[in-house]
């Protein structure tokens, strides 16, 4: 299923890219505009994406992904969800809280006990904040407090 979905998505992306690219000023061959190169790339992209999708739907050999056990799939899904949530809440609750939450949740769902997860969360959040924000002087979002 994945082997068909990915080329299809890429084809859609390439098509969108093409429609956007032709709207850019093309210029002439002697004075290429901003759209010149993107259009070339877009045509190439649509072409290969089409070929790949066709191949996937015709059942090209060797393209099938190995199926995953349901709890493995759940672990990956949780990890991805945690990543997305982290990016979403970071501006609101600040880095230390977000980091703590991220580590604790992911560890718990990967199979650690609550104590391990929470402890690791605190340590890693504090530690990374110390290294990046304090030592290296990198501005990390601090949140409402």
């Amino acid at each position: 299923m994945l082997a068909r979905a990915v080329p299809l998505v890429l084809l859609v992306v390439a098509a969108i890219y093409l429609t956007l690219a032709v709207r850019l000023p093309f210029g002439t061959a002697a004075r290429p505009g901003a759209g010149f190169y993107p259009v070339i790339v877009a045509i190439f992209a649509v072409g290969v994406a089409l070929a790949a999708t066709a191949g996937a739907f015709r059942g090209a050999r060797g393209a099938e992904a190995v199926e995953l056990a349901p709890d493995a799939r759940r672990r990956v899904a949780i990890s991805v969800a945690a990543l997305i949530v982290f990016c979403l809440v970071l501006p609101w609750i600040g880095y230390p809280a977000a980091a703590f939450g991220f580590v604790a949740v992911v560890l718990r769902y990967l199979g650690a006990r609550w104590t391990t997860a929470l402890l690791a969360g605190v340590l890693s959040s504090a530690g990374s904040y110390g290294i990046f924000a304090v030592l290296l002087d990198v501005p990390l979002p601090r949140g409402p407090w």
Partner: protein
């Protein structure tokens, strides 16, 4: 300065041991920490939330590619070389007033391109040719042995 160099080579041996001992952490803890570090690292590059999203999106995409056993390296090469390719293409076209032939006709540029085309398309073409010759030989061999 070779002294300094040697000093650092010596310094690195215990460092190597230290780094490798980090691996003794349980795999799931190590994995989570690495994820966190990636998130911070990506963000702190240019203090940009966009970089964070890029990290996550391409992380998922890279995972999908790994499951499909597709190698993402050409994407990286293209991302690195693309802008330079575009810039030089436009400058070159400007130079030759739009003539593509003029581009390739220059001795240095033309040679490089021919060489690249040969290196890229040569091996598959040769394989096809050999396969064709092979089947012909089999046909001849079988007809000869009749």
């Amino acid at each position: 300065m070779y002294i300094g160099n040697l000093m650092l080579l010596i310094l690195n041996l215990p460092l190597v041991g230290l780094f490798v001992s980090v691996l003794r952490l349980p795999q799931h803890i190590l994995a989570t920490l690495v994820l966190l570090l990636c998130l911070v690292g990506a963000f702190s590059l240019s203090n940009s939330f966009l970089d964070l999203w890029v990290l996550v999106v391409f992380g998922v995409f890279g995972y999908a590619l790994r499951k499909l056993r597709v190698d993402p390296s050409p994407l990286v090469v293209a991302l690195v070389l693309g802008p330079m390719m575009e810039k030089t293409l436009r400058q070159a076209l400007f130079l030759t007033q739009g003539s593509v032939v003029g581009l390739v006709a220059r001795p240095l540029a033309g040679t490089i391109l021919v060489f690249a085309a040969a290196a890229l398309f040569g091996p598959p073409l040769m394989r096809l040719a050999r396969a064709g010759r092979g089947s012909k030989a089999i046909a001849q061999g079988s007809s000869a042995s009749d």
